[in-house]
């Protein structure tokens, strides 16, 4: 791929982002503008902004890569990301807006009038936000490395600097415009190349075996394995090897590998014949954006699928950057309509990654072996179309990928900075918000440089699981159950979120290598979400004396339509 085009595209996206942000800055005046854009953002602009913010690197690059490597089961990710918004609409959207709070900790305090619960919620928001920022920064580094060979940290630094400048300068008002712009940019960047790719596929005779399992090579293909990987073969395979397989060195020799697991050392070159099956890699392939390291699909795939569904369906409502957006709607009815528009927008976007995944299985199956599966979206235009056209389309995709890092990172920074400003720093002025922004970005930035090669990719799945088991019970019970008490809420968040966090952390550290325990810990949502709900309910019931005195009035404010609200809230 010609990196000059790609670098230009990435630079253009960064500059356009700053310019659109500056446009928002001109009309960003008050503190209220800063945090919630003065709550005057209409459904259409807000929906585009929410979608722009939500579609992260994991959506833009990760899903196609996952589908390429692991097949259509991975399409549950985009379905879950979308359905999460439906669940949010059903139980949370309008009352959350009517609660009139800025952030999740504000909601916790308004509902339970407890400073301790507020503190706990704030800590969790900052934690989940940082967890989610980490893969964005690392993804930016990976993209820039794949495109230009630049060092890993450079992309992360670019994203961090651009985001900090926009958020610190313009706050929520300016971020709203930036993100609305980036939704349409991302959609274009994925849609236009997809159209050309589908045309190229048609003129190629529309081969359709991508949908069959497993993928196979369409032509003789030489694959260079950079990092040592384990291959799992379901059938014997004959391959030409130049390098080391299973500890035996070969020099351009044809080797018949029996079914089973084989270790390929880094630097080995494999030549696959036409029509041979693409082997499945075991642990070791480096898919930086995909949360696949923690899971092993071969064991209990059904359990894993349901765990994934539960985490994404219930986790969306608790993601700090998603929640903070609902406060920018003018009223509860608008918040509901906004959510419907969001469902349409992200649903439309998610039609595209499967196309890339399927075409990747056809035209770039060897990416599963080289560990660059996340780069499939970036490499396909050059691979299938080639020439200047392919370069230009590739540059468009690269720009879109960068827009994905920028928008999600800025939304997260916004949410984390809001919490830091209000709960950690002494006053709530705009200047302190700017200081909070820098703090919100510096920590994940440092972490991404320090932990570098570690599998932080699982952070996305971890963030969803923690959010589903802590914030989801808090929001749902807080909105619909009048007997919730501060001790109950605190215990539920600690037990649910804490156990999910520990379970995934244990998996990432490689604690139980295999067996049913592994699946239980790698996909905690299936037990940690009910655990969080149950703890919250039981502890609340055990402390009936601690129900906050104003509960009835607060719930009335959450649920009454705005036209009835004047006197109640006064």
């Amino acid at each position: 791929m010609n990196s000059a085009y790609a670098v230009t595209a990435v630079a253009l996206v960064a500059v356009a982002t700053v310019l659109v942000g500056a446009f928002g800055l001109r009309i960003s005046r008050t503190t209220s503008d800063f945090y919630v854009a003065s709550r005057t953002v209409g459904p259409r602009l807000n929906a585009a902004a929410i979608s722009g913010e939500y579609l992260s690197a994991a959506s833009f690059l990760g899903i196609a890569g996952l589908v390429l490597v692991q097949g259509p089961d991975m399409l549950w990710y985009p379905v879950g990301y979308t359905a999460g918004y439906l669940v949010l609409l059903l139980f949370v959207a309008a009352p959350l807006r009517r609660s009139g709070a800025y952030t999740l900790p504000d909601f916790a305090e308004a509902r339970l009038s407890s400073h301790a619960v507020r503190r706990l919620a704030g800590t969790l928001v900052v934690g989940v936000g940082w967890l989610y920022l980490l893969p964005q920064l690392q993804g930016a580094g990976l993209t820039l490395t794949v495109l230009t060979g630049a060092p890993d940290w450079l992309g992360a630094v670019i994203v961090a600097v651009v985001v900090t400048v926009i958020v610190a300068a313009g706050g929520m008002r300016s971020i709203t415009f930036v993100q609305a712009f980036q939704y349409w940019l991302k959609l274009t960047a994925l849609l236009v190349p997809a159209l050309f790719l589908v045309i190229a596929w048609q003129s190629d005779g529309a081969p359709s075996h991508a949908f069959d399992e497993p993928a196979e090579f369409r032509e003789q293909r030489v694959v260079r394995v950079d990092d040592t990987v384990d291959l799992r073969l379901t059938a014997p395979l004959t391959v030409t090897v130049d390098g080391t397989v299973d500890g035996l060195a070969h020099k351009d020799a044809e080797v018949a590998l029996p079914a089973g697991t084989h270790r390929i050392d880094g630097g080995t070159r494999l030549t696959f014949a036409e029509g041979s099956e693409v082997p499945v890699t075991g642990n070791g392939a480096d898919d930086a954006l995909s949360p696949s390291r923690a899971e092993s699909r071969a064991e209990r795939p059904l359990y894993a699928t349901y765990g994934l569904i539960l985490a994404t369906f219930f986790g969306t409502m608790g993601l700090p950057h998603v929640v903070v957006r609902f406060y920018t709607s003018p009223h509860g009815v608008a918040a509901r309509r906004t959510t419907v528009a969001v469902l349409g927008l992200i649903g439309a976007f998610y039609l595209l990654p499967p196309v890339y995944g399927a075409l990747g299985r056809l035209y770039a199956p060897e990416l599963t072996l080289t560990g660059d599966a996340d780069a499939a979206v970036l490499l396909l235009p050059g691979r299938m179309i080639g020439g200047t056209g392919g370069d230009l389309l590739g540059a468009l995709v690269a720009g879109g990928a960068f827009a994905a890092f920028l928008s999600t990172a800025s939304g997260l920074t916004m949410a984390v900075a809001g919490v830091i400003t209000q709960d950690v720093l002494p006053s709530r002025g705009v200047r302190h918000f700017r200081l909070g922004t820098v703090l919100a970005m510096v920590v994940p930035m440092a972490a991404s440089i320090i932990v570098g090669g570690l599998p932080v990719a699982d952070a996305v799945g971890l963030a969803f699981a923690v959010s589903a088991s802590s914030f989801c019970p808090l929001l749902v019970l807080g909105i619909w159950w009048r007997r919730l008490t501060p001790p109950g809420a605190a215990a539920g968040m600690l037990v649910g979120g804490g156990s999910a966090f520990l379970a995934v952390a244990a998996t990432m550290a490689g604690y139980p290598g295999a067996g049913p325990w592994h699946a239980l810990l790698a996909w905690p949502a299936l037990w940690s979400v009910p655990l969080g709900f149950l703890t919250m309910v039981l502890v609340s019931l055990a402390t009936p004396g601690r129900v906050p005195p104003g509960t009835a009035a607060v719930l009335a404010r959450f649920h009454l339509p705005e036209e009835l609200r004047t006197e109640v809230s006064a």
């Binding site: 399409l75 009139g100 569904i309 619909w480």
Partner: protein, 119 residues
């Protein structure tokens, strides 16, 4: 919680209700405003019907999505079906469910306003 100026902007909507002649004997609206037990019963009834609407739509979603992994696991040869359903087929029902819910929820709220305003 900070009281920011934008809150005031939201308030000034709808007809000037204070000027309307009060009907004297039965005003649910006042009950809610003054947070009497009767007022809380009204709010509770609204919450109950909104929760029921949400749970109904959620049940439809669960019935729609819940069995799918089982179906795909039971028919491992139906790969094309899996691609079609997960890649494209599920999004339209999700949007339709959302629209259906919003219509129901807004109607519930309109009915409630009509009830308590005694119109």
């Amino acid at each position: 919680m900070p009281q920011e100026p934008a809150e005031r902007r939201v308030v000034v909507t709808g007809p000037p209700r204070r000027a309307r002649p009060t009907s004297g004997y039965y005003r649910p609206r006042t009950e809610i405003d003054e947070q009497t037990t009767l007022g809380h019963t009204y709010v509770r009834s609204l919450m109950r019907i909104q929760l029921r609407t949400g749970l109904t739509v959620f049940a439809v979603l669960a019935l729609l999505v819940g069995p799918l992994p089982l179906v795909f696991a039971a028919a491992p040869d139906a790969r094309r079906l899996e691609w079609a359903v997960l890649g494209f087929g599920l999004y339209p029902p999700l949007v339709l469910l959302a629209r259906w819910y919003v219509r129901r929820a807004e109607r519930n709220e309109r009915d409630f306003v009509r009830l308590v305003e005694d119109r």
